[in-house]
Symmetry: C2
Subunit: 317 residues, 2 copies
């Protein structure tokens, strides 16, 4: 299963979102275009903009309103990636060198800000008060999640983890879907179903991301393995592992020689059954996502949303 086949009902329109992103690059000061292009044309799968478009298909599909909003969702996402990489001193992103690695931290800060600003600008373009308010709330929520991640190292609390990923990741998925519903003037219960679908899907997506940080090869993820653990950010696999009898040994390893400890614990986690347990949780969230849209009409787009949930539960990179 490829995303292209899942996005088939909106593939042509997704190209128009891509064009809008290219326009953002072209409208920037000339000296920044290469960096912007590097950041934006990053081989990302455009899941968030696709969600906005798919969600818009359940009522009055209005591309002129949906395209800027879909582009806004991707820009907000990319802006957070650029600042994240700067904050984490990450060298790689999607297998390419990160903006901060190539052009330095200062450029990355300004470029991220510029993309945040562009995302706000595009979110205002449909001239819909509810959507632009939703955007502002989501920006707040995402930034709160980023702060929570940064201030909570070595936090073994499962609830804290779920709150953090809901804020930093799931909220944007929810808004991407919800705004599609609002902009197509769907009935309120449809909008709520879409939002709830997005929230569960985004939670599943982030858990898979956190599992792949352990199980994936560096060349597949395009970033070093166990990078979160190395920064002291405890994601679901770590949290589950630390609750086990072997957890105490792992805790001591992490307290001692940092680098060696991280490597050893990452290996222990990789070979344990917590990975399978995590996928169990992922499937639960994907099932919740699908059940949230149960009452929506059985169309090819509905089918795409179901398949997207399956894809996310099984993705490898």
């Amino acid at each position: 299963m490829t995303v292209a086949s899942i996005f088939e009902p909106i593939q042509a329109d997704l190209y128009r979102v891509e064009e809008r992103l290219e326009q953002v690059v072209e409208a920037a000061p000339v000296q920044m275009r290469e960096q912007l292009s590097h950041g934006l044309m990053n081989g990302g799968k455009r899941i968030r903009p696709a969600l906005t478009l798919l969600a818009g298909k359940f009522h009055d599909y209005n591309l002129e309103l949906l395209i800027p909003m879909a582009a806004s969702m991707e820009l907000l996402h990319v802006a957070t990636l650029i600042h994240d990489d700067t904050v984490d001193r990450a060298d790689l992103r999607h297998g390419k060198m990160s903006i901060n690695r190539v052009w330095g931290d200062s450029s990355a800060v300004l470029l991220g800000d510029y993309l945040f600003a562009n995302s706000a600008y595009l979110a205002a373009e449909p001239k819909n008060l509810r959507v632009v308010t939703l955007f502002a709330q989501t920006l707040m929520t995402v930034c709160t999640g980023e702060l929570e991640e940064s201030v909570g190292p070595f936090n073994e609390d499962r609830d804290y983890y779920f709150q953090m990923i809901r804020n930093k990741t799931a909220s944007l998925f929810a808004t991407a879907a919800e705004s599609g519903g609002v902009l197509s003037q769907a009935p309120e219960e449809v909008i709520q179903s879409l939002s709830s679908y997005g929230c569960s899907l985004g939670t599943a997506f982030q858990i898979v991301d956190d599992v792949l940080d352990f199980t994936s090869e560096e060349d597949v993820m395009g970033k070093p393995v166990a990078s979160d653990l190395a920064r002291g950010v405890y994601t679901l696999p770590v949290i589950l592992f630390l609750q086990r009898p072997e957890g105490q040994e792992a805790r001591e390893l992490l307290r001692g020689d940092r680098e060696g400890g991280v490597k050893a614990v990452a290996g222990m986690i990789r070979q344990s059954s917590v990975i399978a347990e995590c996928y169990e949780v992922v499937r639960e969230y994907c099932a919740r996502a699908c059940s949230a849209i149960e009452s929506l009409p059985d169309t090819p787009v509905h089918d795409s949303l179901i398949r997207l949930a399956d894809y996310i539960a099984e993705r490898k990179g």
Copy 2:
């Protein structure tokens, strides 16, 4: 003349803006509150929020709408300061250590993002589509100005300088004033007058800032002297000086030993008449600001706006 006396007609309401800013600190994750408080309670004069409140006094003064917008303007301003200091590796701000200096670049990036997000959130609170759209446009304009500053070192073009300061500084002054007009449902011509006043005032404000970077003592400005020139950013005093016969010598000094060159050229500029020339330009912009609001009723608030322009032309820090 003190700002307190100028802001007299809205001083009590400005305290309510201050309370709103304190609420932003209190609502943040607990580990970030000290940093937020350090960044927000920075001894700033709150000129931008005051502008919003004063501008709101020309029609239906509605504090419930004006307070969040005024707070939003200050948050956007402080967010740019925090990221600016990070990008410029500045150690001081308003005579205190900068956020990046005390807590590191990573914290400063996340904190600035969080304040940008809060400013967007508060700008959406009055539920006024025009104002929230104006906010998004301004965020774009300010970030464009920041990019222009970063990509244009050693630029001697006067037009480029004016475009840059209009974008990075004057646009926010204009929006602070314009949004006050919009939220008080003032007639369109009043709104335009206020916006135009803010734009000219902000331009004057930035030129004075750029002059003070040369003429002020470090303990008054609270940051090292000639810091822009040291970064290769040519502000109006430099641009005017380089156009003179002595300009060629200065250009060569700046090309040679950087640190010594900057110090020498800063000294030459300080003792030249370009400082007086800059103040001539400042007075021109202040006069433009005042003439933009000529047709507004002659009230104590109108008087405050006139006196604010005088204050800005003469401020020393």
